[in-house]
């Protein structure tokens, strides 16, 4: 196919140098051969240029611009601070063999400040969880942005974006909603309505219910705490292959239908970085990355060993070397997630004082966020004021509607330095001693500690070879953290401060890192935190993967228990995220709460080609006469 298109291009370029080399060639003519070679090179350059720009020509095609496409869907559009926002972030993979398994989400405010950052593991190409909206948030528009680590190399149009409006629980003014424009479509729609929009072209396309999806609730008016059955039919097979989420919540918890799509970009497309990726695909777990900066040479330093340790009652260690760009990467298993870790250099010397570790911020979002100018319905104000009271009551009753789904961990283990020590000493089993030097002299014969002019030295006895002390210092771990050398603070440790001391009295290696023995000192409390200043490197909290969550949904049986003593103040009646592919018929049921009003069944999804589909159907909840 490409060959034929190439021929067409050539034929449409009369007089160009590209066609010249293909003229008849006189036999044994060297000059013409050279021209021919030059022509081939020109053709190659042209083809290369042409193919590199194909993506730009067909900018609306997701598969050209985005190797992964992310969508973000929330259960509602309007929230009250103090409640939980349920979301689903789905992903479609195009072209990539290595598929991302970790999703990042950031909630941005109008000043482009990250209010909330979270990450989670994709399950069946979806990450469905919830965010607790802090009471302190100001009223205004916010944007929930979903992206993978790999997508940080790609244009921001591939990210998933969702605008939400959050109202502070104590804000009774609600200035945005006060300035509501006149809206003629105030009546509650009773028919199916839906829309499909192309996210990149920012265009809506009204859908015909016969062609797309129909939502059929069993009733249009339902009693309080009554079971409601809903039947969704997919009429168009092209809409079956999508990632869908279904929610049932008050009608006024949504923006109006005629709003622009959620992806509003104020910046140009970020450049593609196909061949020099800075951010790797997280195919299994979180990748912790950064760079080593040489302050003296003012450049990123390659080939530096970076060591990662974490405070624990065992000594564990990971290490890596910086690449040509001075970058380093650690693939963290579940043991290292959500923990404080320390990064330092293995080959510590005075020269290395000039080295600085710069960590990547995995939630960094460069695209500027411009809040939309959405209109609200006149009823939205009343809805918000009521919801503020509902949330106040929910908090008073301590009603928790979020249920955490526990999943198996991925490789939950530490990279231990040794399995069993050669010697263990527990100072509390002996008479108290004043400092480490005394402890080593009296209780730890394989450890020799000395006070020298420049500081202190610790040497271990080589018990394997010649029963002489090693020439070089051992690896010293303090509560699992690697120290580059012994110092005053270590030497000042006395018996009550030390829980135990372990030693490994042989030449010990962890992979390519070799040490003249190992000394591990474990303290009785968290005193290592006071010692961080003498660790050469950085301490940082690693990303904690937030588990998937779901909405707790009660079941009522009016015959057996007509009145439950606890109020049911759910505004979100149903939430089913991450439905990967819809069959012809999709059925579900839920129970209404104690709150009457107009409710909306909404189905939102993203198709593999990037189109976003949204359908809804309204019904009324009111007490039976």
């Amino acid at each position: 196919m490409i060959h034929s298109s190439t021929s067409n291009i050539l034929s449409k370029a009369p007089g160009s140098s590209i066609t010249r080399p293909f003229m008849p060639k006189p036999k044994s003519c060297r000059g013409l051969l050279l021209k021919k070679a030059a022509g081939v090179m020109a053709l190659f350059a042209f083809l290369f240029f042409f193919t590199e720009n194909v993506g730009a020509l067909n900018g609306d095609d997701f598969s050209e611009n985005c190797n992964e496409v992310v969508s973000v869907v929330t259960d509602r559009d309007i929230y009250i601070a103090g409640e939980s926002m349920f979301f689903n972030s789905g992903i479609f993979h195009h072209k990539t063999q290595a598929q991302s398994k970790i999703m990042n989400l950031v909630l941005l405010d109008k000043n482009h400040q990250a209010i909330y950052e979270t990450s989670g593991r994709l399950n069946n190409n979806s990450y469905a969880s919830s965010i607790y909206i802090e009471d302190t948030l100001q009223t205004g528009f916010y944007q929930l942005v979903g992206f993978t680590n790999y997508l940080r190399n790609q244009p921001q149009e591939c990210y998933g974006h969702k605008h939400v409006y959050i109202v502070n629980r104590f804000d009774k003014e609600i200035s945005h909603i006060k300035q509501v424009r006149e809206d003629t479509s105030t009546s509650i729609p009773t028919l199916d309505s839906g829309r499909v929009h192309n996210v990149l072209s920012h265009e809506y396309q009204k859908t015909n219910k016969e062609q797309t999806i129909t939502i059929k609730p069993a009733k249009t008016v339902v009693d309080l705490r009554e079971k409601m059955d809903v039947h969704i039919r997919v009429n168009d097979s092209t809409f079956k292959a999508g990632i869908y989420s279904v929610s049932v919540s008050p009608v006024h918890a949504f923006f109006q239908q005629n709003q622009p799509p959620d992806k509003t970009f104020a910046v140009e497309k970020s450049p593609q970085n196909k061949h020099n990726r800075k951010f790797l695909t997280e195919t299994a777990s979180v990748i912790f990355s950064g760079r080593v900066w040489d302050k003296a040479l003012k450049q990123y330093k390659p080939n530096v060993s970076v060591v990662l340790t974490t405070p624990d009652t065992i000594a564990s260690l990971m290490y890596t070397k910086t690449n040509q760009d001075g970058r380093f990467f650690f693939l963290l298993n579940d043991y290292y997630l959500g923990k404080e870790v320390f990064l330092s250099f293995r080959d510590f010397s005075n020269h290395d004082h000039s080295l600085d570790i710069q960590l990547d911020n995995r939630y960094e979002n460069t695209a500027e966020y411009h809040p939309p100018r959405y209109d609200f319905r006149p009823q939205t104000r009343d809805y918000v004021l009521t919801s503020q009271e509902v949330i106040r009551a929910v908090k008073a009753y301590s009603i928790d509607l979020v249920d955490t789904i526990t999943t198996d961990k991925w490789q939950n283990f530490a990279y231990k330095v040794y399995s069993t020590p050669d010697h263990t000493v527990i100072p509390s089993e002996y008479e108290p001693l004043d400092d480490f030097m005394e402890i080593s002299r009296e209780l730890l014969y394989p450890v020799r500690s000395r006070h020298q002019d420049e500081g202190y030295s610790i040497r271990l006895l080589n018990e394997r070879e010649d029963f002489a002390y090693f020439d070089n210092p051992p690896a010293i771990f303090l509560d699992g953290l690697l120290l580059h050398k012994a110092n005053q603070r270590v030497m000042d440790l006395n018996s009550p401060q030390i829980d135990r001391i372990e030693t490994k009295n042989t030449r010990w290696a962890v992979g390519d890192l070799a040490f003249d023995g190992v000394v591990s000192i474990f303290l009785t409390d968290d005193e290592y935190r006071d010692y961080t200043y003498f660790l050469n490197g950085k301490n940082v909290q690693t990303t904690q993967l937030k588990p998937n969550t779901r909405l707790m949904q009660p079941k009522y049986n009016k015959q057996e228990n007509p009145r439950h003593h606890k109020p049911d103040l759910r505004q979100l009646l149903y939430w089913s995220p991450g439905i990967n592919g819809l069959s012809d018929d999709f059925e579900f049921s839920f129970y209404t709460s104690d709150l009457e009003g107009n409710y909306r069944i909404t189905i939102k999804g993203m198709l593999p080609d990037g189109r976003v589909i949204e359908h809804h159907k309204d019904f009324i909840v009111k007490p039976a006469p």
């Binding site: 053709l43 063999q97 196909k274 790797l280 195919t283 990971m318 890596t320 693939l331 990279y415 992979g511």
Partner: protein, 247 residues
């Protein structure tokens, strides 16, 4: 002329196709994470004995599966039969590391033109103390029944004279010993010899059935191959019995 054009265009088009699909062909990023966090002692075993200490003299490629389930593939390994320890040649600095056996669950050693040898740590009773000790044993058969053999060298009482230049020394001779272990359907690991009586008695609660099988099939068990075959037959028989108890 047309042929020349085709010859010239083909590599160009191939290059064009390859460069355009670089993203699609890009391997997973795991290749970046090739550090091996295997701990162990930098150690050269003593050479004061006559005879081979290692199962193979050369480093062989193999995989290591740690107790936590982490798999390190294509590592250079040597198994020391005298010490019952696994040695690893670290790829970056070529340290000769005797791996911390506390972390190793299993390892494989590739052999030329054959199936890789699989070694697993199994609990073996110390004949003197009676306590269980974990030893590396080669897996000969794996099913509901499992058969293992340990390759050990012990320092014998005999010695031989070794002349190194002007120096003459007496070196103790290393003697190879092999022990077979069967993991029966009860999960017990029992030592056995390649004999019918030992084989039957190692079967625990299934010994009567296996006795019938051996009688019916007239199985001979006198060497390793026959022992493997017998375990295989017994395993298949016990599986068929569990499916159809009337057999």
């Amino acid at each position: 002329m047309k042929n020349n054009l085709k010859i010239l265009l083909t590599p160009v088009i191939l290059f064009f196709l390859l460069t355009n699909n670089i993203e699609a062909e890009m391997p997973p990023d795991e290749h970046v994470f090739n550090e091996v966090y295997l701990p162990g002692e930098i150690f050269f075993p003593p050479q004061a004995y006559s005879g081979r200490q290692f199962l193979f003299d050369d480093w062989k490629k193999g995989d290591i599966i740690t107790q936590s389930g982490k798999v390190y593939t294509n590592q250079l390994l040597k198994y020391n039969m005298l010490l019952d320890e696994l040695f690893w040649l670290s790829p970056g600095v070529f340290n000769h590391i005797m791996l911390d056996r506390g972390f190793i669950n299993k390892f494989t050693i590739d052999i030329d033109g054959g199936q890789p040898l699989t070694f697993q740590k199994i609990p073996v009773k110390n004949p003197i103390t009676g306590a269980d000790a974990m030893q590396f044993a080669q897996q000969l058969y794996k099913g509901d029944l499992e058969l293992y053999v340990t390759h050990h060298k012990r320092i014998s009482a005999r010695s031989e004279v070794v002349r190194t230049g002007e120096t003459v020394s007496h070196q103790r001779i290393l003697q190879k010993t092999q022990s077979y272990y069967l993991k029966n359907t009860s999960g017990e690991i029992v030592q056995l010899r390649p004999s019918r009586r030992s084989f039957i008695s190692s079967m625990g609660k299934d010994r009567e059935r296996i006795n019938e099988l051996i009688m019916a099939k007239q199985l001979t068990i006198q060497n390793q191959q026959q022992l493997i075959q017998a375990v295989k037959e017994a395993d298949q028989y016990l599986k068929s019995v569990s499916v159809n108890p009337d057999l």
